[in-house]
Symmetry: D2
Subunit: 462 residues, 4 copies
Amino acid sequence: MSILIKGGTVLSSTGSVRADVVVEGERILAVTAPDGWAGQADTVIDATGKYVLPGGIDGHTHMEMPFGGTASVDTFETGTIAAAHGGTTTVVDFAVQAKGSSLLSTLDKWHEKADGNCAIDYGFHMIVSDVNDGTLKEMDACIDAGVNTFKMFMAYPGVFYSTDGEILRAMQRARGNGGTIMMHAENGIAIDELVAQALSEGRTEPVQHALTRPPELEGEATHRAIQLAKVTGAPLYIVHLSAMQALAEVAAARDTGQNVFAETCPQYLFLSIEDLAKPEFEGAKFVASPPLRDKEHQPKLWQGLRTNDLSVVSTDHCPFCFVEQKELGRGDFSKIPNGMPGVEHRMDLIYQGVVGGELSLSRWVEVTSTTPARMFGLYPRKGVIAPGSDADILVYDPEATQVLSAETHHMNVDYSAYEGMRLKGRVDTVLSRGRVVVDGSGFHGGRGHGRFLSRELNQYLN
Amino acid sequence: MSILIKGGTVLSSTGSVRADVVVEGERILAVTAPDGWAGQADTVIDATGKYVLPGGIDGHTHMEMPFGGTASVDTFETGTIAAAHGGTTTVVDFAVQAKGSSLLSTLDKWHEKADGNCAIDYGFHMIVSDVNDGTLKEMDACIDAGVNTFKMFMAYPGVFYSTDGEILRAMQRARGNGGTIMMHAENGIAIDELVAQALSEGRTEPVQHALTRPPELEGEATHRAIQLAKVTGAPLYIVHLSAMQALAEVAAARDTGQNVFAETCPQYLFLSIEDLAKPEFEGAKFVASPPLRDKEHQPKLWQGLRTNDLSVVSTDHCPFCFVEQKELGRGDFSKIPNGMPGVEHRMDLIYQGVVGGELSLSRWVEVTSTTPARMFGLYPRKGVIAPGSDADILVYDPEATQVLSAETHHMNVDYSAYEGMRLKGRVDTVLSRGRVVVDGSGFHGGRGHGRFLSRELNQYLN
Amino acid sequence: MSILIKGGTVLSSTGSVRADVVVEGERILAVTAPDGWAGQADTVIDATGKYVLPGGIDGHTHMEMPFGGTASVDTFETGTIAAAHGGTTTVVDFAVQAKGSSLLSTLDKWHEKADGNCAIDYGFHMIVSDVNDGTLKEMDACIDAGVNTFKMFMAYPGVFYSTDGEILRAMQRARGNGGTIMMHAENGIAIDELVAQALSEGRTEPVQHALTRPPELEGEATHRAIQLAKVTGAPLYIVHLSAMQALAEVAAARDTGQNVFAETCPQYLFLSIEDLAKPEFEGAKFVASPPLRDKEHQPKLWQGLRTNDLSVVSTDHCPFCFVEQKELGRGDFSKIPNGMPGVEHRMDLIYQGVVGGELSLSRWVEVTSTTPARMFGLYPRKGVIAPGSDADILVYDPEATQVLSAETHHMNVDYSAYEGMRLKGRVDTVLSRGRVVVDGSGFHGGRGHGRFLSRELNQYLN
Amino acid sequence: MSILIKGGTVLSSTGSVRADVVVEGERILAVTAPDGWAGQADTVIDATGKYVLPGGIDGHTHMEMPFGGTASVDTFETGTIAAAHGGTTTVVDFAVQAKGSSLLSTLDKWHEKADGNCAIDYGFHMIVSDVNDGTLKEMDACIDAGVNTFKMFMAYPGVFYSTDGEILRAMQRARGNGGTIMMHAENGIAIDELVAQALSEGRTEPVQHALTRPPELEGEATHRAIQLAKVTGAPLYIVHLSAMQALAEVAAARDTGQNVFAETCPQYLFLSIEDLAKPEFEGAKFVASPPLRDKEHQPKLWQGLRTNDLSVVSTDHCPFCFVEQKELGRGDFSKIPNGMPGVEHRMDLIYQGVVGGELSLSRWVEVTSTTPARMFGLYPRKGVIAPGSDADILVYDPEATQVLSAETHHMNVDYSAYEGMRLKGRVDTVLSRGRVVVDGSGFHGGRGHGRFLSRELNQYLN
Ligand SMILES: [Zn+2]
Ligand SMILES: [Zn+2]
Ligand SMILES: [Zn+2]
Ligand SMILES: [Zn+2]
Ligand SMILES: [Zn+2]
Ligand SMILES: [Zn+2]
Ligand SMILES: [Zn+2]
Ligand SMILES: [Zn+2]
């Protein structure tokens, strides 16, 4: 079964070329000059006037994630179908170690959740909540099992929180085994005190979520994580960076050549504390951690994407319905489940950066696909249109328009954080490992197509 | 005429893939999975065990350049043949406006020198020595003529030097027409005073060249150029950065997202002031500006290449023979012609950084080919192995070894700055626009094959 | 003749004490606990409820200064009388070397202007406009003559401007002889180009003075001066710092322990580019260089005073009448004489910083008196209330109020830059070398009382 | 009872004057020009050729401090007598809250220890080990009781350690009541992990104390404390700063005008990790926290003293005998009591900085006396030679020499950290509140003379 994608402009992280792409089975067989293919093709996709780019890689999602007695509402099936609709063909989700359990049994559990249910390929990061001798040894086994990125939390005391000593130990292990430590960098100990003060003073509305998590405490934790990484020699990847203070710390470390990397998310680029302050508890829709910030942070984040101090855009997709889930926090913002939906809109939203002059076309491809592929050990299988690579391909129509809405999105959640937002550009066709899963006539993929990706190590390490 | 390069590992700035490359005429027709090409090929090159990468682009050479009454000794013919031997398939040389002459007539003159004489493709930057209303208008015409990078000098008063006011005017013009200002950033006014003091005190040996050009004065000029660029909004490219102080200025500007870029050269990575201090006037071989620095700068420069605060490695190839040319400065270091040979060894020398763990393979390709292609508006025609691109291809043997020597090099100069240096890796085969110019049996190219490259604008501008 | 100042609060740069001050002749004989003086006094001044502090030292004035065919309108007599009214008992004025003349003859000329005419003590800085072998040697002689601070200009090409090479030479000399280089740090070469462009485009109004002198060009020159000082090892004092960019450069240098110091002036703390933009040519009243800046610079300058990155407040008093002098620039802002009146109001204006919580009382004394005394080699003769010190004493009433106006000021100029400004605090009594020159009943001093101060070297050098 | 100190050079933090000092009872009555005193004196001290300066203020001592089952060996009596011998006339010691006890009862207990036992005046800081609602309220009461500086620990988990949440709460309280938070800034959580690893690997010798407390973890904690102070608005004083990384954080914060201050100690200026590595367990003598650092930190600390990023030199005097106390840690460095003797030698040691060109005379006075007086709310009662001030006076002989040794020192400890060190300068005469306690004939003071100092608030707050 072969497919020829003809007439398009093939994008990479370095630029664009007019070229045709030949897919044979699950992989790309060749990239040729226009009309340069000497062989036959079973199917021809006309990409005239369109961009042909590697499918998006969302390095940060939470499907079916337990949180505070409830769980995020997208299953691996619904979440990956939504991702595919948005041009994302790979997600890396987080397996979540519960205190007292082992990493490998956790990984088994997450395999059970995902296996046979995903519409696109997927990998796992491992959230390490419980650092001990056993866990540390298991980190090596996780790496053998294709999971070499270990997320830790400086926030959420009593839940995911690790002490600086535990972080140090995990970093030492990562230094030895080639893993990368991912960090939720907020000073949760200080934040919990501010939260308690707010509640005791009757400040209970959603905007307090942001007011009790000041950006300085994200900057602080980022600095601390960087120093611990320096002491141990471990690679460090800061997840969901939202604050200019944290960005400044990352930039300073990167200037010294330290293996420090960071991602941001669309919500920090497009939304702000003003959304959290919406009346009638609507602000709850925007509760995630770190919180949405003052608008002054947004241009700094776009700048960070340009300077590569922010290397990746992920979504931190973690959807909770407004009804019954977000509503758990009426009268107590600290009980609002933390998380926002977004896996479907990342490619489109960041493309708005191209439209608005914030990013180049090639940088769009880089931050949404090529860099996550390299960072998470998937390149060149993913993240590039190249012979031998998986045929995860997005044909994107740069001239189409669309309006985001919960009415039309495919995520299993009852609201959109971007309701009514008008966008330029739209997904035209999506291939996942050689199969056309989305095209103008609808969705042709489904659960079970997606396979687990055993990942190699971070390719950016100095 | 088609060529199939089979069995190799194709390198790009993002990684490597096992792939075959199909060349048809002057261009790459296709890149396919191993054995994936469905058509025929007239010639097959076996690249098994070898790297297949885009030919090197040396963005800074001076062939036949007049300097202080003499001229650099490589002609466009000898210099480009030497480049080809070293795996470089494009050079961007500098047309040099003499005071009082026009830019366009200068360009004509350089076309005359180069046309029909080059063995590989070439482009021009324009050295602007004389800023006036006429020159500024001509900058626009230069851009139309494919020359959009304008080098200015903060050094060499009375020769190439421009005042800050002249630089400001040229930058304003570049801001308007899309050009990029290239800067030789040393405070030549202060340096000339130090030189005069040295001579008047009888300090005349070659090492005084470095002692009278302290790194702080490169850092200073770099800062000044950056501020003038900020005031005017012009893109700025710092040539031949040699000092950590200058690097720090570039890094600080880049952190703010300003369009500031920099290159360094192999001599600053591998040689030092100790070479300048060699006895018997041998130090004269190493006189170039900025001067070779203390060794402590070298690890900072490698780090800058990793952090991308240094984006490009060029050679500043400007060879003068030791006999009769360098010797002009016996008894007065200020009369030693400034410049060193190097165009032939850039790919090999920077590959030593890969061998030594300083750079990744993909970064080697990036700093020597892909980034210069993008920076100088040649991408994707050059700088990448992609369909439609010129078939400028380097097949590199990573396991071979070689020893550098004036006895064996192809540059038209009577010494090597790296005499006796033992290297790992060696050029195997070189294609220039589809023609095999170097292979195991010798050199098959020659003058006249190389064509002028009318260049697009810098592709890195924010 | 002895005076006892009783009942006041004596201020120093470190705090305040309730104490009595005994003056005998021209000097302070003793400072005692309240009522602690065992001897007699001819006169008793009741300072109850008032501050007793060292008389102000204005380290930057221009009396009778030639500028562009005219001259500043305060003579040494009128200017020093105005200073005394404002609580300033020492000025350090600038002798101005004309191109082609010698430093010592210049100094003679300024002695002639000042001798016998000043109402308070005075010293000189030397403006070096013409650097050559002779001048450099004369710098040593100036130091012997009590003038060890040498001002140079990076602005005003063709007038006061020195090249970086000339600055380097002067700095080398200062490094050797203990002098301090004072710098007007603006990139005048670039500025002159911007000025020419403005005029050629018909932008001629006073606000263009600021728009053609962007703060980046003050930051740039400040950085450059600091680097030249670093290369030479010379102490550097940045005069009339106005821009946050320049302040950042000074702060960075000071963090490294380099001998770099800076002053700002009241006009940069209280006035802004909005004043320059006043209609009907009124903006001309506010033309000085560096220009008044956007208001956002003001809080940064106050902060610099708190952090001691700005160590001194001087006035750069250089008054030109609006009528006939400022008016020379109608239709061409570049012809407006550069300078503003201010010598009379410095103590009062900076005291407003105390009132407004910007500075502590002790910091007020420090930046207006103690630090200039130490910086300019006058301490402990001046700048402190201590036994043996000159009895230059200001009794200040912190509760009085006043309104500034050209109607009431004593400067010989037809406008006030602070017309109508209401202040808290007022000069009560002023002693100059033991003589009461100002008290509630009026002015009792006069020309001839002030003596030339042969100054020691800068006391802050590391 | 009056004393006249005649013929000396009186030093202050701004310079020196030839002056006589008149003491009446416990206070300074007058400072006069030489021979300027009109009254009589009971006693005359000849200070010809000597410096007369305010007695030293050691803002950081631990007399009789419980630590790990033992206690520091100097009692308030022996420790203050030793201090007096070294020219220090005020100490501020630390009351140590035990977990579960109250601040006020702690203060009572420390008053009991000290009252009637001290030879010189003394104050208290309060170590807050147990933050809770009651403690926070007590902080206000402590301030009323003259104790407004609250030390907290980011090190020593399980002992003095406070969490970031507890620190935040205490800082909020300090923001409200005017107190200053003093911080032991080392990341004790991470350090304890490194210590455990060292012990488990059999690395037990004293030098491991330093190796398990890397300077990055002092820099980290310093940054964290500064951010918490920024979030809360509290003044912050970093105690015993030892590492250049921590200094850089303090300097950066101070550049922004934040109320951040720091002290260092003589041991960090003169001793190094090489002392900790001395064989035969002798390194144990030098175990204190933070640990002695590599020598490369020393010039940075001296520079910090010059730039005022380090404002104070205290001793952290906390002596444990080598025999039986330090020896508790044979075979386990973590059991070595943390602390070194030093209260006696601070004035002499820092004077070596004057001798060696590191500090000016006035800076010597400033960092050892005037600044601690202002920082700890004792000025002008202490820290200056001024009328009305306590007659705490040090007459210092700059030309005498001495050799430090346990044989001759007055501290109650069996070793000297500076054994055999030869110094220039020596204490001549010491007055404590008007009483000559040390002179050439010996010690004339004794327990009971020293009084508790109820301190005002920090006088440096912006
Ligand atoms: Zn997440
Ligand atoms: Zn150059
Ligand atoms: Zn950077
Ligand atoms: Zn060059
Ligand atoms: Zn600073
Ligand atoms: Zn001036
Ligand atoms: Zn401590
Ligand atoms: Zn302590």
